[in-house]
Amino acid sequence: MKAVRTTAHIRSTVESWYRQHGPALLLFGIALAGDRDRAQDAVHQIFLKLLEHSDLERIAAVRTYLFCALRNTILTGVRRQGRDLALEQADGPWFESPNRDYVEELSVRRALGGLPEDQREVTILHIWGGLTFAEAAEVLGINANTAAARYRYALAKLRDTLSAKKGVVASERPNG
């Protein structure tokens, strides 16, 4: 009976983590793998491994652990298959766009895709993953100051790209 309770407890804990962090992990996975299916598989893989763990309490920083595990899983798979990352292959939306504006969603996706990989990683981890620069740095294996610097560069580029795009989009629409 105790074993059943423990299994149910692990399952509910892992599922709550999945609901909470799954979307940001999938986004991070797509940005890393360049392919939605591979990212989805990797996310499932790390959570299914967690279900086999009986000592979830030992995971101190859940978010950092999950993003770190996902990054290792994807990069190990990429190295094993000897393939280069090509973000252009990642078709389909990445976001639920506010007001269902698919043009804006595409603009954000392209702006993110246009960033260098190291800047894109830290941007996704900080904005959508909710990680601090110290936590993002731990995931990426870099210094916290480096993570913060990369984020500042990325944000400046995103601002320029999206401001220009927003201007174009606004001028294309008769009512604004």
């Binding site: 999938l26 986004l27 499932h44 766009s97 959508w128 995103l158």
Partner: protein
Amino acid sequence: MDDHRIEEYLKSFRPLSPAPLPRPGRQWRLVALAAAAALVIGLLVVPRSRRLPSGPAVPEPITIGSANSLLATSSSWKEAIDDAGFAFRSSREDVAPFSRSALEFLSQEDLSK
């Protein structure tokens, strides 16, 4: 747009949710189902194939002695004939593979002599 506004703008785009987490036991269940199906099919097919004859039965030669002993032990002629398996025995003898027909033999005869 300042940094704070661009951050807020980006956060307004919410990442899509991943597909539901698969149940870890489901694969094992599928494997177990496939194994059970294979077992049932095996149990249905194997006894049937065992019942099928593997090749033509070689009839035992009937001798006068064996026919006499059959007649002595059987209560009637019909039973003795059934027991000996006459009804199912082929009457055709296998033809030797190199034997020739009479017509073939005669056609090769030199009539000019």
